[in-house]
């Protein structure tokens, strides 16, 4: 086999392995992307705007927040502050994926660019078979998710409110996926301090600060708690 054929086979194998993991995200992103496109459409924007945002911003929460920024008076500083607050969790993912994404070589740049909740969850937890290239697996998970999102946002922007079928509750697909990934991580670890820290402090902050403002306090609380727990966690050999 030539080097080119070899490479093509590595890519095909990684794509075949990656695709099934992205099916829930296909459903969730098409739905949420179309919803975002429709909101942009009825707010008076051409489909080009949601399409360009899905390519460059690539983030559900951020793009939904962007609609209200774009329909208010020009205020780039508020836009920047809100962007930093909503996307601060990417710092968590970056710190967690430092070594793996770097090991992927030049395509690691795209892996970092395409960091989102769903892609991070899959790329961090997926059990990739030994004969599948981990770097290309992560690349295809990222690329497929990005394409689903671009397709959803663009379609929603083009067809706007013409689309009407009863999809009420379909957004639950993401909630179910995060729960399953949480359970997988739970089953993988003997000590559940980290999972419980994340779950309980987030719940506490959601109750105290409310749905719109709890994300940042929750992240700071988790960071503080894990920092305080460093010695016992490392001493017990319980840190994964």
């Amino acid at each position: 086999m030539t080097a080119a054929e070899n490479r093509a086979q590595t890519l095909r194998k990684a794509l075949r392995c990656a695709f099934p993991y992205t099916i829930p995200i296909l459903a969730g992103y098409l739905f949420m992307g179309i919803t975002h496109g429709i909101i942009m459409n009825v707010s008076g924007f051409s489909f080009v705007y949601p399409m360009i945002m899905s390519l460059t911003v690539f983030g559900g929460a951020m793009q939904f927040a962007a609609v209200s920024l774009l329909t208010r008076a020009f205020d780039p500083l508020s836009a920047l502050v809100l962007t930093v607050m909503i996307n601060a969790r990417y710092l968590f993912y970056g710190v967690s994926m430092l070594e793996r994404y770097r090991a992927a070589g030049p395509k690691g740049v795209y892996l970092v660019y395409g960091t989102v909740d769903e892609t991070f969850s899959i790329n961090y937890t997926a059990a990739v078979p030994e004969d599948v290239d981990r770097g290309w697996f992560m690349f295809f998970v990222t690329l497929l998710d990005h394409l689903y999102w671009i397709a959803g946002c663009t379609l929603g922007g083009i067809f706007g409110s013409l689309i009407s079928f009863n999809t009420e509750g379909l957004d639950f697909v993401m909630t179910a996926m995060f729960l399953v990934i949480f359970l997988e991580q739970w089953c993988k670890e003997k000590n559940h301090t980290c999972e419980l820290t994340g779950l309980l402090l987030s719940l506490l902050c959601r109750v105290v600060f409310g749905a719109e403002r709890f994300l940042l306090p929750a992240m700071l609380a988790i960071l503080a708690a894990l920092t305080l727990l460093r010695r016992p966690l490392e001493a017990g050999g319980d840190a994964p």
Binding site: L70, P76, L91, F92, S96, M177, L179, F182, C194
Partner: protein
Amino acid sequence: MTDLQLIVTIAVIALGSLVMRFLPYWLFPAGRPTPAYVRYLGRVLPSAAFGLLVVYALKDVSLTAAPHGLPEAIALAVTAALHLWKRQLLLSVAAGTVCYMLLVQLVF
């Protein structure tokens, strides 16, 4: 807003998102050893982040207003039970979602 102001706003959001994604890689470059504290965080943060994501996905559920988070609770229980039994990501997610859609469209 004018078209230029719209473009500037989107550019600010896109660049801000980009910086948040790349910042850890700039702060801890490949050549130098990553501080032990950051490597520790890299090991413990994902588990905590998955807990955060579950709460984040459910953030708009209200326990005080009807239906008191009941459809979510039932669908999450179905998803979890099926997953602990079969350990099939797609099966658990699909069943949980269909269950939730039926509940909110037909029951509640």
